[in-house]
């Protein structure tokens, strides 16, 4: 809740600062002179400052709530308690009461420490020492060293003088004490607002882990090999899918028989998510390369077939008529009219297919693989290496984005007439 409020506050503050204070002098281009912008989609352009601030904010939030060393300390959200906490408990036995002090050392998880030695003190309840790791809780058997133990009828009735019964909680400096059902104090150090590194490591830790994975590799394969395997599978699977799917789509767009024969198959297979095929593909082809490539082939096949089919049916009939009137043969019409006319559709299909293939390969590797981006994050998660998981997700996102950019660039270069027919 608090992170969300901070995020909204940054959003609103940045909006006012950038649009009302800084960006008074916008360039006087045509769009800036439009008076009707609400409802005119073409007048809505992404604000570059907003984009940059948005990305910075994500890293800022990440840093704030992980206590990142990249940020000055005053920006950190309150961290978990670390150090020595003390509280007193009051034990009651046979009608008499006695107080004793408990000293708890709260230490970071990765730095172990010794249980503190304490002076037992007087009375039948003796002072205790205990240690608890940050973000963990610890039951403290305070009666263990007492003269009268729980089994002799002693029970804890107050913490720091506040009465307590089983199930109730008393807040003390550095944490809280809850009495368990059996009457044993359970100390929970203050968690603060930061995320535990197990759930979300700081950005710099992800970065250093990325560097070490890049140089040392992960599970017998280098980082490049993991990503390369995933990419290789996508490219081979996609190319095979396109190689079969495009001619199939053309045939479906040009022949009644092919349309009738393949329509039920394509229309049935198209809504089946490729992920649903993973179990069957594993049964048939195992978890090796063959299985992955078959899966990606199937993922790309239907998309490419449908793209090619709609590319053919999207041809303006006047163009075909014109070509016939100019003396073109069927083959020449195919070569000079139908194929170029369908290229924009095929490129759109290829972009979709590459995106689907990239998603499918990661999912297939999550299920079973010896190497690959998906396998890397799945294995890392099993060993609670959250930093590797986050690194993997970022790299998968960057590569997916890169593929899409590459396809768009290829589209601009190869089919400049797209959308201009």
């Amino acid at each position: 809740m608090i992170p969300l409020l901070i995020y909204i506050a940054i959003f609103v503050a940045a909006f006012f600062i950038v649009t009302k204070v800084v960006q008074k002098a916008v360039p006087q281009d045509y769009t800036s002179l439009k008076t009707v912008t609400f409802g005119d989609e073409s007048a809505v352009r992404p604000n570059r400052a907003a984009g940059i601030i948005s990305i910075l904010t994500i890293f800022l939030m990440w840093g704030i709530f992980t206590g990142s060393s990249l940020l000055p300390g005053f920006l950190h959200a309150p961290g978990p308690f670390e150090g020595t906490a003390t509280f007193t408990y009051t034990a009651e036995a046979n009608g008499q009461t006695d107080d004793a002090e408990v000293t708890v050392i709260v230490h970071p998880r990765e730095v172990d420490t010794d249980t503190p030695e304490v002076d037992p003190g007087d009375g039948f309840a003796k002072n205790d020492g205990a240690k608890v790791a940050q973000w963990r809780t610890g039951l403290i058997n305070v009666d263990r060293n007492d003269d009268i133990t729980k089994s002799d009828g002693a029970q804890v009735v107050a913490i720091n003088g506040e009465p307590i019964a089983p199930g109730q909680t008393v807040y003390v400096d550095g944490g809280s004490v809850t009495l368990s059902d059996k009457g044993t104090p359970n100390f929970e150090p203050t968690r603060g607002w930061q995320m535990e590194p197990l759930y979300l490591p700081a950005p710099e830790e992800v970065w250093t882990r990325s560097l070490s994975i890049a140089s040392e590799g992960f599970r017998n394969f280098t980082l490049i090999e993991h990503l390369g395997y995933s990419l290789f599978r996508v490219i081979v699977g996609f190319l095979l899918g396109a190689l079969v799917g495009i001619p199939l789509g053309y045939a479906m767009g040009l022949s009644n028989w092919f349309r009738g024969w393949f329509d039920p198959i394509v229309e049935f297979m198209r809504p089946v998510p490729p992920l649903a095929l993973i179990p069957l593909v594993i049964i048939w082809a195992g978890i090796g390369e063959t299985g992955k490539i078959i899966l990606l082939f199937l993922a790309a096949l239907w998309i490419m077939a449908i793209a090619a089919r709609s590319g053919v049916s999207g041809v303006n009939i006047s163009k075909v008529h014109a070509a016939y009137s100019l003396g073109a043969s069927k083959w020449q019409i195919m070569r000079h009219v139908i194929i170029p006319n369908s290229l924009p559709e095929i490129f759109t299909g290829a972009r979709v297919a590459m995106g689907v293939c990239w998603g499918t390969v990661v999912a297939a590797e999550l299920v079973a693989a010896e190497q690959g981006a998906g396998m890397m994050i799945m294995t890392a998660s099993k060993f609670q290496n959250t930093d590797i998981v986050i690194m993997g997700i970022i790299l998968i996102g960057v590569i997916g984005f890169g593929i899409d950019m590459l396809m768009r660039w290829a589209e601009r270069v190869l089919v400049p007439w797209k959308g201009k027919g």
Partner: protein, 268 residues
């Protein structure tokens, strides 16, 4: 025997709901080489169907079409077509579009280049030779379409409202160009249009078609096309016969439209 003869053409479309539309009924027409015919009529009179049959894109249910002494069974380079718009190949440059017909025939490069250069000169697009189609204005695109059709040297040019999508000024310039090309090349031209003025200006012969069933209603022989060659078309429109002819044809088409409306209302 050269020329085009349309003999007792009928066209009947069966509708999916069991009914049928008689798009054309017993249409006969003879065109001599070099004649310029414009076809007018209210929507639904079958003029585009007629043109598609002449082009060879549709087979008539009855009657036949004789072109240069042989029967027509499909599209052929001897009958070129100019469409309203969207029929140019936007993946090709202006030059490649104009060269399309000769390329399909496998004409040698030098000869092809000569034809293309000449035609681009004629339509005034020499400076736009290497431009992409989508970089040109609507009027320029139609000039490319004309040049592309002429590059193939067809015997008959079929025009399906080629100037329908142009603005008034561009349209007038294009009308002059069509007349000039007709005179210079001596091609037989069939032009379909919605505009009575255009039909009068660009028709040596003019037929008005009537709907339901589509048939030839009235035929005219007009002097305006000859007068318009190389002249200012606005002057031609001042010809004493022009205004009355226009009114006569307009009211004829009006009557047809009213009749259809009446019939539809009766049915309702």
């Amino acid at each position: 025997m050269t020329g085009l003869s349309i003999e007792n053409l009928s066209m009947r479309f069966e509708l999916p709901n069991g009914g049928a539309v008689q798009a054309l009924q017993d249409v006969s027409l003879n065109l001599k080489e070099g004649e310029l015919l414009s076809v007018l009529g209210p929507s639904g009179c079958g003029k585009t169907t007629l043109l598609n049959i002449v082009a060879g894109f549709l087979a008539p249910t009855e009657g036949k079409l004789i072109m240069n002494g042989h029967e027509v069974h499909g599209p052929d380079a001897e009958r070129g077509m100019v469409f309203q718009q969207g029929a140019l190949f936007e993946w090709m440059s202006v030059r490649e579009n104009v060269a399309f017909g000769p390329s399909m025939k496998g004409m040698p490069k030098a000869e092809k280049a000569e034809i293309v250069d000449h035609l681009l000169d004629v339509v005034g697009l020499q400076d736009f030779k290497e431009k992409a189609i989508y970089e040109l204005s609507g009027g320029m695109q139609q000039r490319v379409a004309l040049a592309r059709c002429l590059a193939n040297d067809p015997d008959v040019i079929l025009m399906d409202e080629p100037l329908g999508a142009l603005d008034a000024l561009t349209r007038e310039k294009m009308q002059s160009l069509v007349l000039k090309l007709w005179k210079e090349t001596g091609k037989t031209i069939i032009l379909i249009t919605h505009s009575v003025e255009e039909a009068l200006l660009l028709g040596e012969r003019l037929i008005v078609m009537a709907p339901r069933p589509g048939r030839i209603h009235t035929e005219y022989r007009l002097p305006f096309a000859e007068l318009g060659v190389g002249a200012d078309l606005r002057e031609v429109k001042k010809h004493p016969d022009f205004g009355p002819k226009r009114e006569e044809i307009l009211s004829m088409i009006w009557d047809m439209e009213e009749e259809i409306m009446g019939r539809t209302e009766d049915a309702a």
